[in-house]
């Protein structure tokens, strides 16, 4: 194939790519070097002032970032463990296997924002059914207004919403595994538990790494759940990076500063996810 104008055909794709990816990133970088806010809209140039402010004078950003790290790692680990357990359960020949497979996917088919509204009602301190039941035993925890418990509530909702996705990926992985090593392991004297540890788990390592990374990327964007459930409260105790950036940028209209936070956030995420992927690969694949 040696066609003179072959590169011409790259243009439609390239054009879309530039329009939706390259241009926005470059624009954000330029925006982050400006002092654009509601009093002073426009692309002026203030150098690295926004970045200096971010790194020296904004503990709230870093707090929200570490909170986000905690939330995303915790939820993804829980999603992985629960998702793997459920997938393993319906992978085996059990009764009503198909029914369970569909059942476990239901949360994924719901609209996250609407489900979060329902969860908020669930966990409402005085009107919610959860406390209605718990009050019979003398408990009425402040699910949404206690700083520590509010984080826990966010985790519950996130895990409920996204475990099915993990379940789906891991079930697909399990179903694609070769059957033979399992036959061999049973005969080689491996009990079901050891078979899981020495055969199933290592064989699932590549899929696990993929699933965990995908979910980590998704989970680092936690925003809708927090927005609807607690609005970052009480105080800032459930505020995540994306939510904080949203407040600064689209509520206070400090566009320049929000852009510098977004860009910093992007760089940190790329670096840390690369490291996590490398570490996981080393740990699980022994390579």
């Amino acid at each position: 194939m040696n066609f003179k104008h072959k590169y011409f055909f790259l243009f439609p794709g390239l054009f879309v790519l530039i329009g939706i990816l390259i241009f926005p990133i470059i624009f954000v970088v330029r925006l982050s070097l400006s002092g654009w806010n509601s009093y002073n809209p426009g692309l002026d140039f203030i150098g690295l002032d926004n970045y200096i402010r971010l790194f020296t004078d904004d503990p709230r950003f870093w707090e929200s970032f570490f909170r986000l790290s905690f939330l995303s790692v915790t939820t993804v680990v829980l999603q992985y463990v629960i998702g793997f357990a459920l997938a393993h359960m319906v992978w085996k020949d059990i009764k009503f296997k198909r029914f369970f497979r569909v059942l476990f996917l239901v949360p994924m088919m719901t609209t996250p924002v609407i489900m979060t509204v329902i969860w908020r009602t669930f966990f409402h301190e005085s009107l919610g059914p959860v406390n209605d039941i718990l009050s019979n035993f003398g408990f009425s925890p402040k699910w949404l207004t206690d700083p520590a418990l509010a984080k826990f509530t966010v985790i519950i909702v996130e895990v409920w919403q996204w475990t099915p996705f993990m379940f789906l990926l891991l079930l697909a992985g399990l179903l694609s595994l070769p059957k033979e090593p399992f036959l061999a392991a049973a005969i080689d004297g491996a009990s079901p538990v050891r078979k899981f540890i020495y055969v199933t788990f290592p064989l699932m390592a590549p899929i696990s790494i993929g699933a965990i990374i995908i979910r980590l990327i998704e989970a680092s964007k936690i925003m809708d759940t927090v927005y609807v459930l607690t609005s970052g409260g009480p105080g800032t105790s459930t505020e995540t990076s994306s939510f904080y950036i949203f407040i600064k940028g689209l509520r206070e209209f400090q566009m320049g500063y929000a852009a510098s936070m977004s860009f910093t956030y992007l760089i940190i995420m790329i670096i840390s996810l690369t490291i996590i992927a490398k570490v996981l690969t080393k740990l699980l694949l022994k390579e």
Partner: protein, 359 residues
């Protein structure tokens, strides 16, 4: 320590995979299960290993009910026709796997794995990945894995069938060496195969299996010399034994206008519907013989297989040299009729050139 089975039956669908299979295997012996594909060989081995539970019947080992013991506690080893290994482990780890499932010192594991590697001729390969090995080497790894645990029962399910011709011969010799090298003293070796030649070479006790049923049990030589039925004669010969419908009268075997003088062991048979069985190697080309037409001539290795036809009678002749024939050529052949078998119309053996059956 005997492995005894009584009336094992397994019927997962509308067909029996095993039907009333009984046997009594003694330690220190080699048992060959001979049968065509889908005859139930793998099912039987899987049942012994514990991967399948029979619908009825019992298996006892060392006086204990084997069916109540889960697979991983049975202390059996198995080599499959597909080369089954652990794709995520290297050669050393693969072979060490069964040992790692018990509490054994790492130093003893190392020693045993190295011994096993040596006995299958794979020293120096311990750090290779499984996927980097050839089929024959992969099968050696799974053989080593089955040897290393000193199982009381070693099951080999057509271990050579997926290998090429050269490797098969080589590994078959190695198997024979391994089996005779003391390994067999306290082990029950069970080897399944479709290949009669392999069965004869291994020279163990043979169980002929067809459609899930045991047709005949006996030493390899006995099965070869006195197949108790047409079915067994077919299964235990490759190419299958030629079956010719003939009449015997006045000391003559008559078929397709050919008269052959009946040998002593056949001349007293007078029943109708007799079938004469003659191995393809017991027919030879001869200038003064009977004329047949060539239907097909295939050369396999150093042999030529001639498919011949006369009237409704079709026979296969194997000739120990490479010869070229054209289709529809006429050839003349002679029957070594003193090596012929006779079967009754219902398939039972009537007479064999090696003397009658026991009883």
């Amino acid at each position: 320590m005997d492995l005894v089975a009584n009336n094992l039956s397994y019927k997962p669908d509308d067909q029996y995979h095993l039907k009333d299979v009984s046997f009594n295997f003694k330690e220190g012996n080699l048992y060959t299960i001979l049968g065509r594909t889908l005859s139930g060989k793998t099912t039987l081995l899987k049942t012994i290993a514990g991967l399948l539970t029979p619908d009825s019947g019992e298996i006892e080992f060392d006086g204990k009910n084997f069916l109540k013991i889960p697979v991983w506690k049975r202390n059996v080893a198995m080599v499959y026709q597909q080369f089954i290994n652990y794709p995520h482990l290297n050669v050393f780890e693969n072979i060490a796997f069964p040992l790692k499932q018990r509490k054994i010192d790492q130093s003893i594991i190392n020693e045993k794995v190295m011994d096993a590697l040596k006995s299958v001729g794979l020293l120096g390969y311990e750090n290779r990945k499984i996927q980097e090995l050839s089929g024959g080497q992969q099968q050696r790894v799974s053989l080593a894995r089955s040897l290393v645990k000193n199982a009381k029962i070693l099951l080999l399910d057509e271990p050579l069938v997926n290998l090429d011709y050269k490797l098969r011969e080589q590994l078959r010799d190695e198997f024979k060496n391994l089996f005779s090298k003391g390994l067999a003293d306290e082990t029950i070796l069970i080897y399944s195969t479709t290949d009669p030649r392999e069965t004869m070479e291994l020279n163990g006790e043979v169980i002929v299996l067809d459609e899930g049923k045991v047709l005949q049990v006996g030493p390899a030589k006995e099965i070869f010399e006195n197949p108790n039925s047409l079915k067994v004669a077919e299964i235990s010969n490759d190419p299958p034994m030629n079956i010719i419908e003939a009449k015997i009268s006045d000391n003559q075997i008559r078929f397709e206008g050919i008269d052959v003088e009946a040998p002593q062991h056949l001349n007293k048979l007078t029943e109708d519907g007799l079938k004469i069985g003659l191995r393809s190697s017991d027919i030879e080309l001869n200038e003064n013989g009977h004329e047949f037409e060539v239907e097909l001539a295939e050369i396999s290795g150093s042999e030529t297989l001639l498919h011949l036809k006369r009237g409704d009678t079709k026979i296969i002749v194997s000739i120990e040299e490479v010869l070229n024939f054209k289709i529809h050529d006429k050839v003349k052949i002679n029957f070594k009729i003193d090596r012929a078998y006779a079967f009754y119309a219902d398939g039972k053996l009537a007479s064999s050139p090696f003397g009658s059956l026991n009883g």
